[in-house]
């Protein structure tokens, strides 16, 4: 085969009809650019969700009061939300073997005041283990102590946002007294900043205080909002959940096989999987749209190739008369179609990358251009070229040279 010659012939045909070639490619360009950009955006948000969840602690487990509501089911009355007690926490802390740290959590939102400044924030009543579970670090000062918890001391550790909003004159927050819901708290430490998460939430707008203090002095409750736990390692998550369930059922005196759990336990891993599957559904949907535009692009190529074959009937007749075989003509038009679709693909990849970058810098969305999506686009383009170029090329190859030469 004189494939190089056929390449030259096809290239020349594309070159002599630049505008039309470009218009033919346009469908492919748009299709490929859409695929690349969609995948980049989809993967980008997935990765950012993952890294966010990992930064929250991939071995984290949360225990919430009330039966599992994800399955639907009946609405539960308010008392169902008060099933987690301090004694549950103490039991789990003493008995559970697969956990590294555990903390009760009670939370309350309210206004926070220092001098003339005030800012809305949330106070979390927790134990010292909470820092480890949430991967928080105290940057200035110290965490409150076990002694503070025992005595329900009015001390707190504040997040960066709270510190910035309250201490606007550059004062050192440590040692100062702020008011949360009118109750004075002495600041003993400031947390290291974690920034915003994927969902746009400020992770630095929080105040940590001993859970005893928050339960007694702020909320006046005897139950817990939830219990946060970290498993020994990510691999121990399943075992830890099982153990926690057994211990809690004992503590709540639930009868085997009769009573349902009146609490529910989720791991961060589950959360991550849920988020991922949501992101995957989105990506798949976007990808479908993109694929449809690729097919439309392919049909565009087929359409133009048909017109081109008809228009060049005489040329095909001439080529045959000087010795082009059917297969030479077939190859010529097929190569032309493939070159068009691959060139369109290359331009599409470039445009797709540009769009992805534009989305990243203008809309501030996380994007991640995937090498595999580029490979996929090329594979699809080649296939599109062959598939949609085949019939026009076959039509050209089957022309009768005498008829073709006579064509006007």
């Amino acid at each position: 085969m004189h494939l190089t010659n056929l390449f030259k012939i096809a290239l020349r045909a594309i070159n002599t009809n630049k505008l039309r070639s470009f218009l033919t490619m346009l469908g492919i360009i748009i299709g490929v650019a859409a695929v690349i950009a969609m995948i980049a955006i989809g993967e980008g948000s997935k990765q950012s969700i993952q890294s966010n969840i990992a930064s929250m602690g991939s071995n984290m487990i949360s225990i919430h009061p009330g039966a599992d509501r994800r399955a639907g089911g009946v609405r539960q009355d308010a008392s169902a939300m008060e099933t987690l007690k301090l004694k549950d926490y103490e039991l789990l802390k003493a008995e559970a073997k697969f956990i590294k740290a555990i903390s009760p959590t009670v939370s309350s939102s309210g206004q926070c005041i220092f001098g003339n400044n005030n800012t809305p924030s949330s106070m979390y009543g927790v134990s010292i283990g909470y820092l480890d579970i949430r991967q928080l670090k105290v940057e200035e000062g110290d965490m409150f102590t076990e002694e503070d918890i025992r005595t329900s001391a009015k001390v707190c550790v504040i997040g960066k946002t709270v510190a910035d909003n309250l201490f606007t004159k550059g004062e050192d927050p440590v040692g100062r007294v702020i008011r949360f819901k009118s109750i004075p708290f002495r600041v003993v430490g400031v947390l290291k900043s974690k920034g915003y998460n994927t969902f746009g939430m400020d992770q630095d707008n929080l105040i940590l205080a001993p859970y005893t203090t928050v339960m007694k002095r702020i909320m006046a409750i005897t139950y817990l909002n939830n219990i946060s736990v970290s498993a020994l390692t990510e691999e121990h998550t399943e075992q830890a959940i099982e153990e926690l369930t057994t211990l809690l059922r004992q503590s709540h005196k639930l009868r085997e096989g009769i009573d349902e759990d009146n609490f529910n336990i989720h791991s961060q891993k589950e959360m991550m999987e849920m988020m991922n599957s949501t992101a995957d559904v989105m990506t798949t949907l976007l990808l479908c749209v993109a694929c449809i535009s690729l097919i439309v692009g392919g049909i565009g190529i087929m359409n133009i190739m048909y017109v081109s074959v008809t228009e060049r009937t005489k040329e095909i007749g001439l080529r045959m008369s000087v010795g082009a075989r059917g297969i030479d003509i077939l190859a010529q038009f097929l190569i032309e179609a493939i070159l068009l679709s691959i060139t369109g693909g290359i331009i599409g990849v470039v445009v797709g990358c540009l769009i992805s970058n534009a989305v990243e810098s203008i809309a501030q969305w996380p994007v991640s251009i995937q090498p595999w999506s580029i490979m996929l686009s090329f594979a699809v383009c080649t296939f599109t070229g062959i598939f949609f170029g085949w019939y026009p090329a076959k039509k050209a190859a089957n022309l009768d040279p005498i008829e073709a030469l006579r064509y006007e």
Partner: protein, 247 residues
């Protein structure tokens, strides 16, 4: 005795049109030897084009046999005939059939593009030589649409020469040209004849027969006349005798 380039043995070609059968060729036999300049004449519908398509291996006989350079063509496959055309035949058409927006040299290269045994360099060299042979050595890079009818036909003749064919087939090659240019092209054909090329020239113009070495006349798909021309006129002299172009 000169080598036989073309031999037709009772060649018939029928076309089935609906219920009817059209006998375009009813049994044509003749031999053409190397170095002959044959004109084929006949009225419209007499079967000239059908015969030329047979000779050019674009079509195969319904019955009878056609030997090109000793090779039987009738049972050949489409693919094999394409290769045969590529190596043994040079076509010259009435309407030139050049590739649009393409340079003269690339047009002439075309047949060699389908011959993998010719390298790109050799292809270019042979195309340039062919163009020089038709007097267009200074027009190599001119585009087909920048040339006059006579120049385009010269390019087409160069294209027919470039594969060094056994026979050159011309179908009304001067049909689209004015008298002067027609004679210029005829001069070129006579030069090729003088170099020993085998030429078959289909025409309806009886005048042209005077410049060839042999004349075959068709009528209703049969050879009516087949005469050698002992007194070949010189196209160059005829050209010189034409009245000068008015300024």
């Amino acid at each position: 005795m000169k080598k036989t380039v073309i031999e037709l043995q009772n060649v018939k070609r029928d076309f089935v049109v609906g219920e009817e059968v059209v006998h375009a060729l009813r049994g044509v036999s003749f031999k053409i030897h190397e170095g002959e300049f044959v004109t084929i004449m006949g009225t419209s519908g007499s079967g000239k084009s059908t015969l030329l398509n047979q000779l050019g291996c674009l079509d195969t006989p319904t019955s009878g046999e056609y030997l090109l350079d000793g090779i039987p063509v009738r049972k050949m496959k489409r693919r094999e005939r394409a290769v045969l055309r590529n190596r043994k035949i040079g076509f010259v058409f009435q309407n030139y059939n050049l590739l649009a927006k393409t340079t003269a040299v690339e047009n002439v290269e075309l047949p060699l593009m389908y011959n993998s045994s010719v390298s790109a360099r050799e292809r270019r060299e042979r195309a340039i030589k062919a163009l020089e042979a038709v007097g267009l050595g200074n027009r190599l890079m001119h585009l087909s649409n920048q040339m006059s009818g006579g120049q385009m036909q010269r390019v087409a003749i160069a294209r027919a020469l470039v594969n060094d064919p056994a026979v050159i087939l011309a179908d009304e090659a001067t049909g689209n040209l004015d008298t002067r240019t027609s004679f210029e092209i005829l001069v070129l054909f006579q030069e090729l004849f003088a170099q020993g090329r085998t030429i078959i020239f289909v025409t309806h113009n009886p005048e042209i027969a005077q410049y060839s070495s042999r004349n075959i006349v068709l009528r209703d798909g049969l050879v009516k006349e087949d005469v050698q021309n002992t007194n070949i006129l010189s196209a160059a002299e005829a050209l010189a005798a034409l009245p000068p172009i008015e300024e």
